[in-house]
Symmetry: C2
Subunit: 464 residues, 2 copies
């Protein structure tokens, strides 16, 4: 296959502007999955993909699993070179995070804008831009009269940013449709060591547990002069409970929290030492200094240790100036990132028990679990990792590095349990891409690099 | 004077519907002083009072002290029976709390509506309705051809709900204009013992210290998977600090916090025991059970002990569902109610020092003091208290009870320090009036009672 690759890569270069235009069309759709106000736009993004896949000649399904639809598209034997070749399942998501705070965007979140060789829009990097790299690789084969070197199934879902709640059911209900030999995902970052960004294959992800904790107190907002000091104030009590989440060593105090955390091996630690992790760039870019669980390095805290964050606080008077009120309720969004081998369901139970163990007067909790995800750790010695490494080396001249990721892709664990698939995470994001933040963006050079690597990957997988 | 009182009280009854109409005109003006969006409406409310006072033949001034205007109106000798009679300064405020949460109002906050003998509107009880009781008492004398039994000065300000920031300067700059023999305020409640509501003279108020604490962390919102566990999350850290405000006994942990609190005398405790305080009604109406500083009763916590409340929490993702973000900042509104003899400036310093004493990684605090107010305790043995007691007894047949109040009227301490005046607090609110809350209201029967008591009070003060 190698000899045939160069003309394909050349085509990706000449077609680049068109590919960027297609990506921007998709980015202009505000497919925010966590907010019901955007429900129609989420559907529109699913239709956009389905129509594109049909035009490429793929057998296309829009699966409604009770939540936002998932788009599944499969190559038919007619467009694959060798019917005996393996099948790759490419997974991505077309839904995006909410764009707020809106006022901090230089240009509107859903008006994709090119500045300094980057496209700025919500979803540019997470994950629409990265999905389109794979689609463009596929398109390059099919629109230049080639057959594909392996079978391909695309699974592009619309609920990743709200925990992929219904996708496991979709997987369970459509095992035949989704059957494959391995899974490929582009929703991660390149490795950014002191030597600069390098393509990476990510072999482990942290899982997630996300809660909304709402504490109800008096039946209505009260005057803090008339009632202050005589009854439980839910905002005060909520802060008192949250304040007990950590000890002085920044360790989480929930009983049993660390029991199942897989300890780092000496070999893994040694490999990580060679990666040239640049702590001052990673933290310095956002104005932070190292702060976390005592006894671990920043990279260990990020990749191999569980974390706990308050993602939001709300309740009482949140406007300008002063209002002397005892609020009827207060709330917090609290989430955990959990490395192998923590069990998100076990942690959910531990956390709820811990919450309920506190004195809150006669206030009442409303605990809402907004999603759990298992951590993932894929074997690094499979032939697919070798194939992917060869493909990336063909394009870049260097083998990729093998890394972990602190973030979560909720369904990767499900690919293993539901479909028996190991996953290769090959992403082209950078930490500075501001995903989940205002001014999210994606470098067009990395977009092109991703298109090329995926084109090479298809060839490389076909030769296995 | 006593013999002449009855026709005046009869007039207040026949004129009641017109008086209610006038009050509703004022209540329809959304004079929210804490929110700049309402600045024009605040001015409009000041003009409304000024025009009314001019029509009553009072010498009227609108004082601009740098903030929202204060309206001052004085009787001239021509309309006072005896030039040698004392002068009473009536203080009130025409500004109101913000109306939010708007969706919890049965009828809009600024469309005054009569239901079941009560007027519903923001400011109905706090304080427009109560101000208008005094104005109607005055009007009853002047529109029935009578002269006033004593000199009167009205001072109606527009910044009470945001801490009366510029009023002390107005007082200092206009000492001659505001000179009087005593001050009367109607911004408090009737006493609600087990025997039902009874007119009360309030002799002590708690002071106030109000802060907005904003903690800044990373330079932008971050993905909690990529960064979680490696840097200080300001929402988490804020909760950790606020969580340390109280010990297990619900005592505030700020060093020196209780040092200056005046202990209750045995005599005061004995008097309070006779008041028939109905704890189950006070707390039960809002669905709460007693909760507060160990070792004190609910009434003691409310009237004689300092309290600390989180009035609001904000920051990070506050919308529906989940957003996995480490916020760039988080904030809290925190206030204290302080009884005699605590010093709000000393507490502000203690609190700021306490805040700064915590480990917050390299997060940065922005501390905004939204106002301080001294506590107040007026002697109960002055001739003015006797005169007010006689007046109330004339109208109701019973002497008023002498009580404290947990809430704050920021300027009452300033009347003492700036103008040398003791203050009589004679209010007709009820705890169930939902002041500072949705569906604030005021009973029209109490409005009429207040009009009568103030008419009698003017006569009674004139005979001193």
């Amino acid at each position: 296959m190698t000899t045939e690759l160069q003309p394909l890569l050349d085509h990706l270069i000449t077609d680049h502007d068109h590919a960027v235009k297609r990506m921007c069309d998709l980015l202009a759709i505000p497919s925010v999955s966590t907010d019901p106000a955007y429900a129609d736009d989420v559907k529109r993004a699913a239709r956009w993909h389905a129509e594109d896949f049909k035009q490429l000649g793929l057998e296309t399904h829009v699966l409604e699993g009770g939540g936002h639809p998932a788009v599944v598209a499969r190559t038919t034997d007619a467009i694959v070179e060798d019917p005996a070749s393996p099948r790759v399942l490419f997974y991505g998501h077309y839904d995006v995070q909410p764009p707020d705070p809106l006022e901090l965007w230089t240009t509107p979140a859903f008006e994709p804008t090119i500045r300094d060789g980057k496209v700025y829009a919500r979803g540019a990097c997470d994950d629409k831009g990265q999905v389109m790299m794979f689609v463009e690789a596929l398109r390059a084969y099919l629109t230049t009269g080639r057959k594909l070197p392996c079978h391909v199934t695309l699974l592009i879902e619309g609920e990743e940013e709200c925990g992929s709640v219904t996708l496991p059911k979709v997987m369970a209900d459509h095992k035949d449709l989704l059957a494959a030999d391995l899974c490929v995902v582009s929703d991660t970052s390149m490795w950014e060591g002191k030597a600069g960004p390098a393509p990476a294959i990510t072999y482990a992800l942290r899982g997630l547990v996300y809660y909304d904790l709402k504490l109800y107190g008096p039946s209505r907002d009260l005057h803090s002069g008339v009632y202050g000091g005589t009854l439980p104030n839910p905002a005060t009590v909520l802060a008192r409970v949250l304040g007990k989440l950590f000890d002085k060593e920044n360790r989480v105090t929930i009983p049993g929290f660390y029991n199942d955390v897989a300890e780092l091996t000496a070999e893994e630690r040694a490999t990580w030492d060679t990666l040239g992790f640049d702590e001052s760039q990673y933290l310095g870019d956002v104005g932070a200094e190292p702060y976390g669980e005592a006894g671990f390095s920043t990279l260990e805290r990020r990749w191999a240790r569980p974390s706990c964050d308050v993602n939001g606080l709300y309740g009482g008077y949140m406007g300008e100036g002063a209002k002397t009120v005892i609020p009827a309720f207060a709330g917090a969004k609290v989430s955990f990132r959990i490395p192998a081998n923590m069990d998100p369901h076990k942690l959910s139970e531990q956390f709820e028990n811990w919450i309920q163990s506190h004195d809150v007067g006669n206030c009442r909790w409303e605990l809402t679990n907004h999603g759990v995800a298992h951590p993932v750790a894929t074997p690094t010695d499979s032939p697919w990792v070798d194939a992917a490494s060869r493909a990336i080396e063909q394009v870049t001249g260097k083998p990729p590095v093998l890394v972990r990721e602190g973030a979560t892709i909720p369904v990767v664990a499900d690919f293993k349990t539901e479909l028996g698939l190991d996953t290769l995470l090959i992403g082209f994001g950078l930490n500075s891409d501001s995903i989940h933040s205002p001014d999210e963006h994606f470098g067009l050079d990395r977009f092109l690099l991703g298109c090329k690597c995926h084109a090479a990957l298809l060839a490389s997988l076909g030769s296995e």
